[in-house]
Amino acid sequence: MNGYVAAGYASTLVGLAGYAFYVLRRARVLRRRVGAGGPR
């Protein structure tokens, strides 16, 4: 496998996984806040 193909596949995985991590983390923080019934 050449470097360009590896870069294409790897960047897609990193981009999607990074965004998924951000969304899940943000949901967890907000759920804690709203679920606790108290705003910040």
Binding site: M1, G15, L16, A20, A27, V34, G35
Partner: protein, 259 residues
């Protein structure tokens, strides 16, 4: 002098979204697993593709690049449909606005990755990272338009005002999708023809490439759906958090005035 009765902050009933686990309901968990499996299949099929006479190993990028572009079209199409649903009085619900905003943000991620993987593919095959070709330019313009849309949504305002102005912009912005899709037909471009046309039986693309590309389309659609479901949850929680903060601020101001 007027007296002000102490006001308690109103407490909304518990948000069902807030009560869910980190990965959502069983249905969203199943969707996530399906997306992961489809993505794994895309990688396995794509990386196993043979070299081609014209492009050597670079043609393996066909499994992911068109799928990413397709998912961005789906995302912005959903944003437009949800925006239309918000603007029609009979179907007006704030959940349509949440879906519109969430889908646009996920679409921006897919568009960014489309441009990135396209650039990586272009360097060895065209000899340049970037060229002001119609398809590439319109894709970059699409990214800029939807970044502007997301910026507009962040302008502080009442949620209903925000939803209405964002919906109008989304309905105008979606026009770039057919223009971008047919750009390779309407103008002479360096970019190849429409990827969706490659999926028809009339083309001369090898079946293994068509299969990998088709699985790529499916995988990116599932990943888009899973990300959007979770991003909608975040949007609902953000609104609930903002509302709760507003209630507390009102109580505090009234308490100050009563002193």
């Amino acid at each position: 002098m007027t007296t002000t009765a102490p006001v308690e902050a109103t407490t909304d009933p518990p948000d069902p979204v807030a009560a869910q686990g980190p990965l959502g309901s069983a249905l969203t968990l199943a969707l996530g697993i399906a997306a992961l499996l489809a993505l794994a299949a895309t990688y396995a099929l794509g990386l196993a593709l043979p070299d081609t006479v014209e492009q050597g190993g670079y043609a393996r990028l066909i499994a992911i690049h068109p799928g990413l572009a397709w998912a961005s079209y789906v995302a912005f199409g959903v944003t437009a449909l949800a925006s239309a649903a918000w603007l029609v009085p009979r179907t007006r619900r704030i959940s349509w606005d949440h879906l519109a905003g969430a889908s646009a943000e996920v679409g921006v991620v897919f568009t960014g990755l489309t441009l990135l993987t396209g650039s990586i593919w272009g360097r060895p095959t065209w000899g340049v990272w970037w060229v002001w070709d119609a398809r590439l330019t319109l894709s970059a313009l699409m990214l800029a338009i939807y970044l502007g849309y997301l910026a507009l949504r962040r302008v502080p305002s009442d949620p209903e005002v925000r939803a209405s102005r964002a919906a109008v912009v989304a309905l105008g912005a979606v026009l770039i999708i057919p223009i971008n899709h047919f750009a390779v037909q309407w103008w002479r471009t360096l970019h190849q023809g429409r990827s969706l046309a490659q999926l028809t039986p009339e083309n001369d693309l090898d079946a293994s490439f068509i299969g990998a590309m088709a699985v790529g389309f499916l995988a990116m659609t599932l990943v888009y759906a899973w990300l959007t479901v979770h991003r909608v949850r975040v949007a609902r929680l953000e609104d609930a958090d903002a509302e709760a903060s507003l209630q507390v601020a009102i109580v505090e101001r009234r308490a100050e005035a009563a002193r």
